[in-house]
């Protein structure tokens, strides 16, 4: 499990769509539950900053990118499946 680590999370969205709102809500919920106090969420709206899409290899939205802690993970979608998100964020190690 996580030690004294900090989760740096980026959520790429394209405007305030239903999907992006759902994704952000889901993400905040999981983080509050599992990573309280050791996470940062940066929301990047590609409609405003399209040049940032290339750097993180974004092609679908919403995409959650976790760079730290390693390894890099990308979670595509509205993050509705909690278990998948938590596995992807290395919050829980393996699937049950």
């Amino acid at each position: 499990m996580a030690k004294e680590e900090n989760w740096e999370l980026k959520l790429y969205i394209a405007g305030k769509t239903e999907k992006s709102v759902t994704a952000l809500r889901n993400l905040r919920k999981y983080c509050e539950q599992h990573l309280k106090g050791k996470y940062q969420i940066e929301v990047i709206d590609l409609l405003k900053k399209p040049q940032l899409a290339e750097g993180d290899q974004i092609f679908a939205v919403p995409t959650l990118v976790k760079k730290i802690p390693e390894p890099i993970r990308k979670i595509i979608g509205d993050l509705s499946n909690e278990e998948k998100v938590l596995v992807g964020l290395n919050i829980i190690p393996v699937k049950k």
Binding site: Y12, A14, K19, T22, A23, L46, L47, P50, Q51, A53, E54, Q57, I58, F59, A60, V61, P62, T63, P71, I72, R73, K74, I75, I76, G77, D78, L79, S80, N81, K84, V85, V87, G88
Partner: protein
């Protein structure tokens, strides 16, 4: 290729690709402002086709382009096309091209819930706007299918993507991997319905050929055949070798064959410029010599000539022709004559054609020699060779290039073994071995020569140290004589003539003698006559003298008598 009328009627705007030959078969290029699908198996040249579309668009047509690579990194891509003379980095720096590498790493990605591909849209839109791109390539978008599992979303999004590209008004090329029984593995052809191009790379008899086919092209005429194409240091060259219509320009200018006596047989002026000439013959009948003469004559007229040799090396040909008094080397040195020698098995038939086509485009000759076309059969069957030749002849006639093919015929006893191309060519010379009287001699016929008077006679074809000659065959009482039989007959004629001459001389002499004899006789008779005449004259003279004397005597006597009478009378009177 297309008549002006049709061009006017053509409504669909097109974006030229700049790819050699491709714009000709599509009559202008890809549909402008619409997506086109380029599909084919791995290694068929999809990426190259699309990058050339982008690079040439940027360099030649001032249409900046975005290249979205799903497979190769931008640096790899740039390195890969340097060999083709494309400096991607420079074009990128000049904002003519934007490369975007979309990397999809399956192991890093989780999918959960609803999503869309707006990220890609935004990226693409941003790239397009940043350089005001008119062209877009997505190579190979199907990689999305391996990166994402939700096919339902993917398909819906792809449909949206292509519509979006259309709305953007960019000319797009989407590449797709060929699938089992389908054009593309994931059925992309379902979404891109305007223009579909299929690239193919086949290996037959260990010889590979690349082919291109336009599967569909909405709202436009296009060639429907499979066109061979070549990838070399200049990129892709497609061969629009089958013209759709027969509307070639023709000229009635004539050019010499290089052999005066052959020109004589062709109405005294030689072949038509831009015509095709077939030279068929059995082994060792002098096909190459005739062809070399034609090449030489072309260079003498200061016109370029390419000699495609499939059997001999250039040095060999030059040497061999020197033995009959022809110096091809000086034309090679002056750059008028170019040899291109290659073994037929070097590559496939189509490739031969592509190479020939390219060389001709580059060198711009007036005369082309192919020696011999029959060797091409080793890499293809007869019907393929024929198809190739039709296309080659078409192309050459369009370019107003005179072409001479040589063809080896196997002596089957008939003259009609012509590689099936005789109906295509304008003139057909047949060289034959004539076996007669224990020796082989060469004979030349003109089987046909369209649109001009030509001799129907067979000529004996002689190769001497000083070149080629056509000699009238001897038509004697025994029929056509050729070779030493002809020579013998000629000698016979000559000696007969001599014999007749001496005979006449002898007769002349006899007459002369007879005349002399007669003359002598006449002289003798004359002298005899003279002497008789003299005698006669003499006797006349004597008679006359006698008569005069007698007369005189009588006169004197009578005078005397009268005087005596007078005296007597006188005396009586007294």
């Amino acid at each position: 290729m297309i008549s002006a009328k049709r061009k006017e009627r053509q409504q669909l705007p097109k974006a030229p690709t700049g790819i050699t030959g491709f714009d000709e078969i599509t009559m202008g290029g890809l549909p402008k402002g619409r997506p086109s699908l380029v599909c084919g198996a791995a290694g068929c040249g999809k990426t190259l086709f699309s990058i050339e579309f982008i690079v040439r668009g940027a360099m030649e047509f001032n249409e900046p382009g975005v290249f979205v690579a799903f497979e190769e990194k931008a640096e790899e891509l740039a390195a890969n096309v340097v060999s083709l003379g494309f400096d991607l980095k420079k074009l990128v720096a000049a904002k003519k091209i934007k490369l975007d590498y979309v990397h999809i790493e399956r192991s890093e990605i989780e999918e959960t819930g609803e999503y869309d591909l707006d990220g890609l849209f935004i990226r693409l839109g941003y790239a397009i706007d940043s350089i005001k791109a008119k062209r877009v390539v997505l190579d190979t978008i199907e990689n999305l299918f391996s990166g994402l599992t939700n096919q339902g979303i993917l398909r819906a999004e792809l449909r949206r993507l292509f519509q979006w590209l259309k709305d953007k008004g960019v000319t797009a090329v989407i590449t797709g991997e060929q699938g089992e029984g389908y054009l593309t593995r994931h059925g992309l052809e379902e979404y891109v319905s305007d223009c579909v191009i299929l690239l193919d790379h086949r290996v037959e008899n260990q010889i590979s050929t690349r082919r291109l086919r336009i599967v569909k092209y909405r709202g436009s005429f296009h060639g429907t055949n499979e066109y061979p194409f070549l990838i070399d240091e200049d990129g892709i060259s497609v061969l629009p070798v089958t013209s759709l219509v027969l509307d070639k320009q023709v000229t009635s200018k004539r050019i010499s064959s290089g052999i005066p006596s052959l020109d004589e047989m062709l109405g005294g002026k030689g072949f038509y410029r831009g015509s095709s000439i077939l030279l068929s013959g059995t082994a060792g009948t002098g096909k190459t010599s005739v062809a070399a003469y034609f090449a030489n004559e072309s260079c003498n007229r200061n016109e370029r000539c390419i000699y495609f040799a499939f059997e001999e090396s250039p040095e060999q040909i030059v040497r061999n022709m020197r033995s009959i008094g022809m110096d091809l080397d000086r034309h090679v040195k002056s750059g008028l004559l170019r040899f291109n020698a290659s073994r037929p098995t070097l590559y496939g038939l189509e490739m031969h054609l592509v190479v020939i086509y390219k060389l001709i485009k580059q060198f711009k000759p007036k005369t082309v020699i192919l020696d011999p076309i029959t060797n091409l059969v080793t890499v293809g069957n007869m019907s393929e060779v024929k198809a190739i030749l039709i296309r080659l002849i078409d192309f050459l006639q369009n370019e107003q290039i005179t072409v001479m093919f040589t063809a080896l015929t196997i002596d089957t006893g008939t003259t009609q073994s012509d590689e099936g191309v005789s109906s295509l060519v304008d003139a057909w010379l047949s060289l034959r071995d004539v076996e007669y009287n224990g020796e082989r001699n060469r004979a030349l016929y003109i089987m046909k020569s369209r649109g001009m008077y030509h001799s129907n006679q067979v000529r004996e074809f002689i190769i001497t140290d000083n070149g080629l000659k056509l000699v009238n065959v001897f038509l004697g009482p025994q029929g056509v004589l050729i070779g030493s039989a002809r020579e013998a007959q000629e000698l016979q004629e000559e000696s007969n003539n001599n014999w007749r001459k001496t005979d006449l001389l002898r007769k002349d002499k006899a007459i002369e003698r007879k005349k002399m004899l007669l003359d002598a006789k006449i002289a003798a008779l004359n002298s005899k006559f003279e002497s008789e005449k003299d005698d006669l004259d003499n006797s006349y003279l004597q008679q006359e003298i006698k008569n005069t004397i007698i007369e005189n005597n009588r006169k004197r006597l009578s005078e005397k008598r009268s005087s005596t009478l007078n005296t007597k009378a006188n005396a009586k009177k007294s």
